[in-house]
């Protein structure tokens, strides 16, 4: 069998072409798009109300976002593995109350936070064990644990509540204090975010989360410890929900049995708006954090602009739809542009080959420029 080595000449150099960089940019752009939407929104609000970006205003914006950022970061880890944790709201509620109870009895604030995280980890472990060892659909299981944890919380807490008066003053001040406009809580959330993002990008086990979300069967065949990774993702998610619970306590000073009720939908919205795909394998925690920032800011922007609260919910929903639609449209546009670009390249290559046998080819539109050609072959 005679074999000729193909296309060495025509396609050489293609891989290093602009395709890569463009593709790279597409990924960055997803987060960029949200950032732009966010900045525009802030700018418009500031224009309409100069108080908005006062020191207090910025502080409020950051404080509002921190708790959601934390939970959304954890949730992203789980969603990346093609799972979901709907019980985060319940976990947040029960950990906040537990930390509060401990502080009420005169506990140490640092220990209270550790305690909340540990309890969150416990909840995460339960979810993780059920999902990974039981190999059952995450949606059903975590909807189940959402109810179970919430119910247990209500039974335990009853009608008790913890108010700021019950907490050490230092702890409550920590919840609203900070370095000028930057609250302590925001700094903690930022630290967590950066660490998680770095881990996901730079460590083998982090990449494996993406791999097993992208194709679980292939992950198993590649020898990735699937169950261990999923368990880890849920555990971190639970731990972060616990940390968020402690911060909720510090921030609002005020928890009862309904704390965190319905929070899962907000978290899922933030993650989705942030471009983390529900079928797993793609998205970044920075995106999720931006999504969280965007969502909480909408809730500050509308009142600040004096929009009647009657309108807030509807506007919220429409903005959410807009955000995901714009994100999608941009992604599709860029993908098309990319394709066109590679088409031009292909066309160039084709005409650079010998003339073909079919008559129609003579009328093919001439390719744009020699420069383009030079590029591809460089």
């Amino acid at each position: 069998m005679t074999v000729t080595t193909p296309h060495e000449t025509t396609v050489a150099g293609v891989p290093k072409s602009s395709g890569t960089r463009l593709a790279d940019r597409v990924f960055k752009m997803r987060e960029l798009a949200i950032l732009v939407v966010f900045l525009v929104m802030i700018a418009v609000t500031e224009a309409g109300n100069s108080q908005f970006l006062s020191e207090q205003g910025i502080k409020d914006l950051l404080l509002n976002a921190t708790i959601l950022v934390l939970v959304a970061t954890g949730q992203s880890l789980v969603v990346i593995t093609r799972n979901v944790d709907l019980s985060v709201g319940s976990t947040l509620g029960i950990t906040a109350f537990a930390a509060g109870t401990y502080l009420q009895g005169g506990g140490n604030p640092v220990l209270a936070i550790v305690f909340a995280i540990l309890l969150g980890i416990g909840c995460g472990l339960v979810n993780g064990l059920l999902v990974s060892l039981g190999q059952v659909p995450a949606l059903v299981v975590t909807l189940g644990t959402l109810y179970i944890i919430r119910g247990a919380d209500s039974i335990w807490v009853g009608s008790r509540q913890i108010t700021a008066a019950d907490l050490p003053g230092g702890f409550v001040d920590f919840g609203s204090g900070g370095i000028s406009a930057v609250p302590w809580l925001a700094l903690i959330a930022l630290a967590v975010l950066v660490v998680v993002a770095y881990y996901l990008k730079q460590f083998g086990s982090g990449r494996e989360l993406y791999a097993l979300g992208s194709n679980p069967e292939a992950a198993r065949l590649a020898g990735i410890p699937v169950r261990k990774r999923i368990l880890a993702a849920y555990t971190v998610c639970g731990g972060l929900a616990g940390l968020a619970g402690a911060m909720y306590l510090a921030r609002f000073g005020n928890v009862d049995s309904s704390t965190g009720n319905g929070y899962e939908l907000t978290v899922v919205s933030a993650v989705v708006v942030g471009g983390v795909v529900f079928t797993g394998g793609s998205g970044s925690v920075y995106g999720a954090a931006l999504g969280a920032l965007l969502l909480t800011s909408i809730n500050s922007v509308l009142p600040a602009l004096g929009v009647s609260s009657v309108w807030v919910l509807a506007i919220n929903g429409v903005l959410l739809l807009l955000a995901i639609a714009v994100d999608r449209v941009v992604a599709v546009r860029v993908a098309t542009a990319l394709k066109k670009k590679s088409a031009l390249r292909k066309g160039t290559a084709a005409t650079s080959g010998p003339a073909a046998s079919l008559p129609q080819q003579d009328n093919s539109p001439s390719d744009p420029s020699g420069a383009e050609k030079g590029n591809t072959h460089a």
Partner: protein, 324 residues
């Protein structure tokens, strides 16, 4: 894959059996359960969930989800209240509300099929949007003075029997849904779409059209439920039916419908709905607190997925243990 298949096949019968066992137990041992009045309460209160569960099952089988149903119901109730307050005839209002349901469903469907957005994200968005519009439409008003013959129909029962009057139309809708899903080519194609959208497209199935249709039907059923809700409870407020979507999802999941799409039966879904409803009724009669009821619901959900799996493991272990 084969595991989840066994789940779909076996679990809906298990849920059905559980429902029957629960009913028998309650008739025998729970004071006040068996009388006609209580049964009519139980059926009437479960009806909204059951109504939405019908199209939701079809939607989930085809691999999509609609979380905006409760908001659509709330919106149609709010519009109904508003138009009624404005003096329009109820006979005109109800069709308008259903038309509104078409629009709500179409918006979801178009966003999902035309823009290719994930339905979970889209319907979380419309969940907020529709509820928000309801709030704009009706504000803080609560409309309660609907005509008595309509209220009586929605809340009443046949004579002193246990059967709510609204239950018959539901049975008709149920029958239609069962036939559509399990006995028509359209239903068959839904299973194919849910299991593999691409393969379905390559088989010439009009995937987008089917999904758009389903979202629309879901919208209509949700708005019908909204109308029913407002009449059943004689109260149209913007926050009617808040949170109903989670109840529907929980019930449908309990009935063995796989949210990955392509699997499940309507029988299972409906059994799931009435199992949860009956359980709540019985637990209330037995003075189980609301908090404990939540826990029971959660445990039931976990068991619904874990149970079949454990049973399978045991079966395998037994097969391995026995010689041959």
């Amino acid at each position: 894959m084969p595991e989840s298949l066994t789940r779909a096949i076996r679990w809906d019968t298990v849920v059905g059996a559980l429902l029957i066992v629960l009913l028998l137990f309650s008739f025998g041992f729970v004071d006040g359960f068996g009388n006609a009045l209580n049964l009519s309460f139980f059926l009437g209160n479960t009806l909204p969930i059951a109504l939405i569960a019908l199209p939701m099952t079809l939607l989930v089988v085809s691999g999509e989800i609609d979380l905006s149903v409760a908001s659509t119901a709330g919106l149609s109730g709010a519009v109904m209240g508003k138009l009624w307050n404005d003096g329009m005839a109820i006979e005109t209002i109800i069709p308008i509300c259903l038309l509104l349901g078409v629009v709500c469903g179409l918006v979801n469907g178009l966003l999902v099929t035309r823009l290719g957005l994930p339905s979970l994200a889209v319907t979380i968005g419309t969940l907020a949007a529709y509820r928000g519009i309801a709030q704009i439409v009706l504000g803080s008003n609560a409309v309660t003075d609907f005509p008595t013959q309509y209220l009586d129909f929605a809340a009443g029962r046949f004579g002193d029997s246990f059967l709510p009057q609204a239950f018959l139309p539901f049975l008709v809708l149920l029958a239609i849904a069962v036939v559509v899903l399990h006995a028509t080519p359209f239903g068959r194609s839904l299973f194919a779409i849910g299991a593999s959208e691409e393969a379905a497209r390559f088989a010439g199935i009009r995937v987008k059209r089917a999904k758009l249709l389903l979202f629309t039907v879901t919208g209509v059923m949700a708005s019908l439920t909204g109308v029913f809700w407002a009449l059943h409870y004689a109260s149209a407020r913007y926050d009617n039916a808040t949170g109903l979507e989670l109840s529907v999802v929980a019930a449908v999941l309990l009935g063995g419908i796989d949210f990955d799409g392509g699997k499940g039966t309507l029988g299972g879904a409906v059994a799931g709905v009435f199992l949860l409803g009956a359980l709540q009724n019985v637990m209330s009669l037995l003075n189980v607190s609301a908090q404990s009821q939540i826990v029971v619901t959660g445990v039931l959900l976990v068991i619904s997925v874990l149970g079949p799996r454990v049973a399978r493991q045991i079966a395998i272990a037994r097969a391995a243990g026995s010689p041959g």
